[in-house]
Amino acid sequence: MSTSSTSPPAHLLWLQALRTPEQTLLWTLADWERVVRLARRLRLLARLAESLAAAGMIDEVPAQPRRHLVSEQRLSHWRTTAMVWVLERVAITLAAGNYPLVLLKGSAYIGQNLPIAAGRLPSDVDLLVPKAHIAEAQSRLRAAGWLEAELDEHDQRYYHEWSHEVPPMTHPVHTMELDLHHNIQPPVARMRVDADVLLQRLAPSKWAAWQVLAPIDQVLHSAVHLFQDSELRDRLRDLVDLDGLMRHFSAHDPRFWVDLPARAAALGLSEPLALACHFCHQWLQTPVPANTLVEIEATGPGRLKRAWLLPLLAQVLTPTEPDSDPSAMQGVAAALLLARHHYGRMPLRLLIPHTWHKMQPPKMATELLDKP
């Protein structure tokens, strides 16, 4: 991967305002309008609001965009409060089990007060427990009122045998969905991860009941979550998260950049790490040391794979401008990456019947909001 050029594409320059909000002083109203529209769609508008607020600059924003920043900031506060409440309740529900309770992704960032916790819009809560205890945790949650969606036989088997999580649970009182995991990758995936290795290095969160993955493992989880996922359109938020994680953890641990590639290799996650570092470095100027970049590149995808994978990812990760339709190229790239995702997620003997099942028409039409 190229380590020379670090100038981001011109249409992504606005992202720098997330770290240096002073830039917004130069924006015209037209610039603001574009950013508000893009950032809202990308779930980064409240993040921008928080970074302006932290710099004491929110009152310097022109009134028209300011109300939208404030509005989204309120939405973020509300969702975050709702998430913290779920975590308080679930901690009580699962307290009697003598096994670690682990926060993943957004809940973990909030549970550590990381800079990237500000301005999130959580809609579900991701938790991890050891696989040996997941059935017990599920039944405790059911007893506390958490409900599982009704699944057909195929989907039940999918979650039970091929997935790294149990079916999402909802609660009549809570607005958040609960996703209970026993691993960060499916057990049948090509890029399999030994969950015990993750569980051996847990770190404390700010809540006694909850732990988090080791900082480096959080970075690797975030990378695998983004680069092995089915849908990469409008996922710049995840790249901004990766940038924030790497900046924060490297500043607090002098061994971070040395340990990161080694841990990725041990867990078999060198490829997503290489992709994460490539795009973070190129697009967000993440200060990855040059020798670390070289090392990560050497263990990541080979030259041939890079030649087709990087342009596809760049195509799909680049957000479409608010008034444009996605290009045909982007559609093709997204379809190819979806195929790659499925291929990586399960072996073909499972994938073909699973895809066939998923192609059947859904049984229920999606209900749209009825208000107003």
Binding site: R41, H68, S71, R74, W78, P322, D325, P372
Partner: protein, 322 residues
């Protein structure tokens, strides 16, 4: 809006449907609703005529530097161009909602715009209520299911009350005032004929016989309500209407503990605003007296409200003086 609105500004009624269609097809048409500005683009051949019918008094703006929501109402492509054609709703480049039939772009725009406003304006407490103004004070008609708040709001707006919104009681807690979110009043089913009989010269858009909410027609906002859509209104009173066949008009005072849930619990963003929402709702209940209005005769219902109103205004004046 930077686009200056002077006496010489042309309104949608002053321009041809072709000019509106041209704006919709290029940079869009800016609809300044008071508390919020929409930018609407479309390739629908019928939307321009429908907009002209119900947004006739709004200034015709085809260039401006800000909108709070950007909406594209586009004809569905592919097979849907020919077989039971449809229009689809895009916001900021993303598809939203189920499509509507191609001859009904206006109901799709109205419904989708309301949804976007309800999602986005958390700088305001958005009560789900009809809102009208007189003497500088707002009268709120909360949307209790089956209350017919749109019918009564429409009737008031035709008889000397200034329409703020038939859907949003948009309260600005910082300023302590209501703002207009002025759109055509969406009337459903039998209410359409009720209002047409009530004011034969009311201006209606086309009737859409089969929307998801039944038969819908839009009543245009009056010229004066459009001209005054940037004027705010102080909290005045709350009326919980209830239409009951054959009932004599009954006007019964309501206690604060009844008004509070009527205002807050069906607001769009009361929960989201947390403590700020609670404080705003409490402030409203403390300031606004409230009544239940049970009626079957619309004229008599209006007469009852109009008879009570001077006393309400007088009470507010006394509170301010003391």
């Amino acid at each position: 809006m930077s686009a200056g609105e002077s006496d010489i500004t042309r309104s949608l009624a002053d321009v041809t449907p072709g000019a509106i269609a041209d704006a919709l097809a290029s940079d869009g048409l800016w609809l300044d609703l008071g508390a919020v500005t929409l930018n609407v683009r479309s390739d629908s051949p019928v939307l321009a005529v429908q907009l002209k019918a119900v947004y006739g008094h709004y200034p015709f703006i085809d260039k401006a530097d800000w909108a709070d929501a950007h909406i594209r109402i586009m004809q569905a492509r592919g097979l849907r161009r020919w077989m039971r054609p449809q229009v689809v709703f895009y916001c900021d480049g993303r598809l939203a909602f189920d499509p509507f039939p191609a001859d009904s772009p206006l109901p799709l725009l109205e419904w989708g715009a309301n949804w976007l406003v309800a999602q986005r304006l958390n700088d305001l407490l958005l009560l789900h209520a009809g809102a009208v103004e007189r003497d500088g004070f707002a009268l709120l008609l909360p949307a209790i299911p089956g209350s017919g708040k749109s019918t009564l709001t429409a009737a008031l707006s035709q008889r000397g009350w200034r329409l703020l919104s038939d859907e949003f009681g948009a309260f600005d807690p910082a300023a302590g005032v209501f703002r207009a979110m002025l759109k055509p009043v969406a009337l459903k089913n039998a209410s359409i004929e009720v209002i047409k009989d009530f004011t034969p010269d009311a201006v209606f858009g086309p009737v859409f016989p089969k929307t998801r909410k039944g038969r819908v027609a839009h009543l245009a906002a009056s010229k004066v309500s459009v001209q005054r859509r940037h004027d705010t209104a102080r909290p005045g009173a709350v009326v919980l209407p209830k239409w009951q066949a054959g009932s004599p008009t009954r006007w019964e005072p309501l206690a604060e503990h009844v008004l509070f849930p009527a205002l807050s619990f069906n607001a769009f963003n009361y929960n989201l605003l947390g403590e700020a929402g609670f404080r705003a709702a409490i402030a409203l209940v403390r300031q606004c007296p409230g009544w239940q209005l049970i009626y079957s005769d619309l004229d008599d219902a209006l007469a009852t409200i109009n008879a009570a109103w001077p006393g309400i205004v007088e009470r507010h004046a006394q509170v301010e003086a003391s």
